[in-house]
């Protein structure tokens, strides 16, 4: 939800998703090519600053979204510090330090590229981009329905929890377990009913077997793509210059 609300609030909300995707993709490519810590630092700084200063993503939201993957990265790096020695005993070893450093820096730069995209592009725009890139219709239809149903079901879940709480459904552990069980059972029925209702509603609007939606128009797309491409070229140049 935080990712989604940041994307809607971002200044780049109405920038063509193709331009933002190109920028993120070249960022990923540059992070893949770069070798030295300095190059990784520059790339990460560029990508993070683009999101924070360019797209005006709030620093607090950025950190909150970045923390879980960074935590995962930290855990992975820590496990690489432990390994068997020649006698087969497990111990802390520094042999992997260069690899750990490289992996951590590259992953961080790649994470920054990805966050730049998802924190500025709402899910519906990403889906529209995938549609443009000719992703199979069935997969997209499922994604659209899942996305919409996520909010519908969350609202239904929250309302039911409130209704149960109002009638002391969560007064103690025993009742809380019982209420949660009842709610889970009820949600199954609700999912079924809502799925049937959506099918009926789609039929009423001449549903023909595929969910067709109007693609959003981005009048500035060409200019934005050019800017993204130029920024991408700069990042790739930094990475390639690092290799040479």
């Amino acid at each position: 939800m935080l990712i989604e609300s940041s994307a809607y609030a971002s200044r780049w909300r109405d920038v063509a998703p193709s331009a933002k995707a190109l920028f993120a993709l070249t960022g990923l490519g540059a992070a893949w090519l770069a070798r030295s810590p300095a190059a990784f630092a520059v790339l990460t700084a560029m990508l993070v600053l683009a999101a924070l200063l360019g797209a005006r993503v709030q620093l607090r939201s950025y950190i909150a979204v970045a923390l879980p993957p960074l935590g995962f990265l930290l855990l992975s790096c820590l496990t690489m510090l432990v390994g068997p020695d020649s006698d087969g005993h497990w111990r802390i070893t520094t042999a992997m330090l260069p690899t750990i450093e490289h992996t951590a820096l590259r992953s961080t730069a790649m994470l920054a590229a990805l966050l730049g995209l998802v924190l500025t592009t709402p899910m519906p725009d990403l889906l529209a981009l995938l549609r443009k890139l000719r992703t199979p219709e069935l997969l997209l239809d499922l994604m659209v329905l899942c996305y919409r149903m996520l909010f519908v079901m969350r609202q239904a879940w929250d309302e039911s929890i409130t209704a149960q709480t109002a009638r002391l459904g969560y007064r103690n552990w025993r009742q809380a377990w019982r209420s949660t069980g009842l709610l889970a059972g009820q949600m199954a029925v609700q999912v079924w009913q809502r799925a049937a209702a959506l099918q009926t509603a789609a039929d009423a609007r001449v549903y023909q077997g595929t969910l067709r939606f109007l693609p959003t128009a981005y009048p500035q797309a060409k200019r934005q793509l050019t800017t993204a491409a130029l920024a991408g070229v700069v990042m790739l140049a930094i990475a390639l210059g690092d290799r040479l």
Binding site: P122, V144, R212
Partner: protein
């Protein structure tokens, strides 16, 4: 009079669970008129609307469309649903796209229209419901009233001849009800036939040309709004009290405040009549 646009002839409907939805219901819609389908909860109003859009098929009886019995072929259903739009009561059960403009474009795209035409229709439909600036908002960020208007826009964008609305006023606050009524008036002026279900007799009398009354799955009476609203026995059978405007008017006539004559269709109109009396200096006993 020309052939009715849509007609249910002695339609009964039994749901798969064995419950009776409709029982020998006959109901007619003429071109360009405003209809209210009046009845208490569970009277079968939604079932009637779903029959008129071809979503449900009569167990017995027939649906007539343009004077001909409807054939329920795939092409026939497409034609019917292109011309007869249905807005559901609960917006969360109708909206399934992530963005407002995507959802509104769903129907027109299903009609196979060109993208340019679809874009034009989406803009016009959103403007018509007062959501012109909300095209790119996510559906889940909208209020209940806004979602309801998106639902209406989604059907308007298909430019139907007949608009069916299931309890359109339910859950809307007073200003939004006034806005929606104005929108329905504009549509009716453009020649769109409108049928809406309601259990508000005052609104039905104020707004509709004709009223169809339902009770327990039966279509018990149909007729011009003012005549039907005066039939207390019919209203009583449908669990309705007499409209406030008529009851007040009758009392004021009995008191000698107002002369005998046709009753106004709303309390507001009645108040206007009383204020006019005050200005002319009429005094009462």
């Amino acid at each position: 009079m020309s052939a009715p646009l849509l007609e249910l002839q002695a339609v009964s409907h039994v749901y798969p669970d064995g419950s009776n939805g409709l029982n020998d219901c006959t109901l007619t819609l003429q071109r360009g008129r405003r209809y209210a389908l009046l009845g208490p909860n569970g009277a079968g109003k939604t079932t009637v609307l779903q029959h008129l859009n071809g979503l449900l098929r009569p167990t017995t009886g027939t649906l007539h469309y343009d004077g001909q019995p409807f054939d329920y072929s795939r092409q026939g259903l497409t034609n019917l649903r292109t011309r007869v739009g249905l807005v559901f009561q609960n917006p969360d059960r109708q909206l399934f796209s992530a963005l407002v403009e995507e959802d509104v474009s769903f129907g027109p795209l299903n009609l196979g229209l060109h993208e340019y035409e679809v874009r034009h229709r989406v803009t016009a439909a959103l403007d018509a419901v007062g959501l012109g600036g909300h095209a790119r908002r996510a559906v889940h960020q909208l209020s209940f009233g806004q979602k309801k208007r998106v639902c209406i826009a989604g059907v308007l964008a298909m430019e139907p001849d007949v608009l069916l609305l299931d309890e359109p006023m339910a859950g809307l606050d007073a200003p939004m009800q006034i806005e929606l009524t104005a929108l329905l008036d504009r549509l009716a002026e453009r020649g769109v036939t409108v049928l809406l279900s309601t259990h508000d007799i005052d609104f039905a009398l104020r707004w509709a040309d004709d009223i169809h009354v339902m009770a327990a799955g039966r279509c018990i009476a149909s007729g011009p709004a003012q005549q039907l609203a005066a039939q207390t026995d019919v209203l009583h059978a449908a669990g309705q009290r007499p409209p406030a405007a008529l009851a007040l008017h009758a009392e004021l006539v009995a008191l000698g405040v107002l002369p005998h004559g046709p009753a106004p269709r709303s309390v507001d109109a009645l108040l206007d009549t009383l204020r006019a009396l005050k200005h002319t200096g009429v005094t009462t006993a």
